[in-house]
Amino acid sequence: MSGSKYIEIPIGPQHPALHEPILFRVKVEGEKIVDVIPSTGYNHRGIERLCEDNTFLRDVFLAGRVCGICNVIHTTCYSECIERVGNIDVPPRAKYLRTILNELERIHSHMLLFAILGELIGFQTLFMLVMRDRESILTLKELIAGNRIQADYVMPGGVRKDLTPEKIQQIKKALDQVRARIKYYKKVFENDSIIKKRLSGVGILDVQDVYRYGFVGPIARASGVKSDVRCEDYYAAYNDIPFNVITRNECDSWSRMMVRVDELFESVNIVEYAVDHLPEGPIGPKAMIRTVKAGEAIARVEAPRGELVYYIISKGGDKPYRVKIRTPSFNNILNCQVMFKDANLADLPAILVSLDPCISCMERLVVVEENGRAEMKSLVDLAR
């Protein structure tokens, strides 16, 4: 309709649908979404700059704090990158332990997302029950690493704690229970008519858009793009462990959720395989690695939300010259407006949750110097 007036509804920076601050300026006509403009900058912490000021060893803990949910994965990626710069060998047992923790983290991250999905589509019971079942994974993480969430487990050259046979038995027992619960939730997602009504056919993302905007992770896989760093690149012990890459072809919010549900089964299998085939040997170098020789390297790992990239330049000594972090949410969130075509306002939370938004890890500030004049570029411009 020409001449009709739109209402602009701000979703954020503080809003019940968001758990971290970001602003989506949503233009609606009645209940129909006309346009969505993401705008960032509420959660910038300057971690890349901090990394340059601190030593290689202390940066491990900074990397772990980029994202609370996937901290083991961030430290894994950072350590892999340091090891590539310094040609440091990692003992095979440490590689397997890294794999176990990475997959446990993927399980609890995906389960958290199911809980948030329940909350966002008004299904409180799902939220409460998933959060209860997720707790057993966090207990496992505490058992292995010493902490429920912020593990600080992975170090350059190895890991910090070893597994005992008794702990392996506990892990297996807990994983059996979790697998049974995931089966139940899969049934819920497949059979609950209201969940299907809310999610299927919503937020369509076709394959061309995945390539054009560079979506990564489960979002790309739900549109039929078989992209998974775990089998494309070598890190941790993934090249020794058999697993499937889950893809679906429905391209909607529901299929993004189902990809994650099926990935949970794969993750549980990977952890079980890893604890069964755990090699003997040391778990890390005798002394902490404090200095890294000059050089540069790039490392990629598969975070729960997609491909995570660390790029580190070292000029020798104990401090990095540059640490560049590129998180999966960066692409997935900033390009999300392609999914809101013809969506209803009520679809917005359902689409947003299927992207697994993690705002604090994607906040970057970029200053571009042009003709001697410094100019801040918005992230949205850069992501395109």
């Binding site: 209402i7 602009e8 509804i9 701000p10 809003h15 019940p16 649908a17 609606v28 209940e31 329940g118 909350e119 966002l120 589509i121 008004g122 299904f123 409180q124 019971t125 799902l126 939220f127 409460m128 029950l129 209860r132 609950d192 209201i194 969940i195 009504k197 809310r198 209803n344 306002l345 009520a346 679809d347 917005l348 939370p349």
Partner: protein, 329 residues
């Protein structure tokens, strides 16, 4: 006019305002406790035994809070609409025979069933006004959704409420109750099921929890309200639930009828009425906990394409059933 103490006692204390308020708080607590148990939580447990005073504590807290009137609101409607909507629902409940008679001590009049539904519709409209006057995009979206949903679902609700009246041959609630030696839920169970669904929509419970869908439009029409006004809006919501339960009990579960073991009989009538409405509350809350929220367009499509034809069909079957019963008896 003679100052009649019992009349004022009836209106203000029992079975009037105070009793209804107590019921509202009790049902609020039952809802919260039941939802918590279904979700593997504890629920309210500190204020009073098993947390039964928690709703009261919440209202006291709200009434002591600062009230903020944002700039640019229509102050007159904004201030008045929470109180008016609350009063309208209380007035509607006063007509329902709780202890055998209604609050005014009479047996009601022919047509009070229509009156309470008219009052409920008007109450919903004042809820719409409260959101519309607060000049906030979330409130506007929320209040428009209230209108969509209530105007749509009022039609099947009233059509379905006609069925018991048809069976009883009267539009007076006292007469409908009197005819229910066998509660109507056993005679026309399909109408009861449909009525429960449309009540779910009238009470804004999941899966029809759309007008205040938190993750889309924050608190819907309540967004700009604070302090006492918010307390009155919340009380309105509790009153709506009492109203819904009371109407369902009156129309389908035989109202206050039940075995009377010893006198006074009004005590037993009240007890049966409360027990039956707790049953209804449990059904409502069970559906609420087991469902996710639908989308507004799905709800409206479901109303016009499914609920209204079904309620018309059930009305026709009830008419046929009634002529059949009249023919046999």
């Amino acid at each position: 006019m003679v100052f009649d103490l019992t009349f004022f006692f009836g209106i203000l204390v029992f079975p009037g305002l105070l009793f209804i308020l107590t019921l509202a708080l009790l049902y609020d607590w039952i809802e919260r406790k039941m939802a918590a148990r279904m979700q593997n939580r504890m629920g309210p447990s500190f204020a009073g035994p098993a947390g039964i005073l928690q709703p009261l504590a919440d209202y006291i807290k709200l009434f002591t809070k600062e009230e903020i009137i944002p700039e640019g609101v229509n102050t007159f409607i904004y201030t008045l609409s929470p109180i008016i909507s609350f009063s309208i629902f209380v007035l509607a409940i006063l007509f329902i025979p709780i202890n055998g008679l209604n609050v005014f001590g009479s047996a009601g009049f022919e047509g009070d069933l229509l009156l309470i539904f008219a009052l409920a519709t008007f109450g919903s409209f004042t809820i719409f006004l409260s959101g519309w006057s607060s000049s906030n995009p979330y409130s506007e979206m929320g209040s428009v959704r209230v209108l969509y949903q209530f105007l749509g679902y009022d039609i099947p609700t009233i059509l379905l409420a006609i069925s018991p009246a048809m069976l009883a041959g009267s539009l007076s609630m006292t007469n409908i109750v009197r005819m229910q030696a066998i509660p109507f839920v056993f005679i026309i169970p399909w109408v009861f099921v449909l009525f429960t669904i449309s009540m779910q929509a009238e009470l804004e419970e999941d899966p029809f929890d759309i007008p205040h869908a938190g993750t889309e439009i924050v608190a819907g029409y309540e967004t700009e309200f604070s302090g006492g006004k918010l307390a009155f809006l919340n009380l309105t919501r509790d009153m709506q639930i009492v109203f819904g339960a009371a109407v369902t009990v009156t129309l389908f579960l035989g109202g206050p009828l039940g075995p009377v073991l010893f006198s006074p009989s009004w005590l037993w009538y009240t007890l049966w009425f409360v027990l039956k409405s707790i049953l209804v509350i449990c059904i409502i809350e069970g559906i609420e906990c087991a469902c996710a929220r639908l989308r507004i367009d799905q709800v409206i499509r479901g109303n016009w394409k499914l609920m209204i034809p079904l309620s018309i069909a059930s009305l026709i079957t009830t008419i046929v059933l009634r002529s059949f019963i009249a023919f046999v008896v």
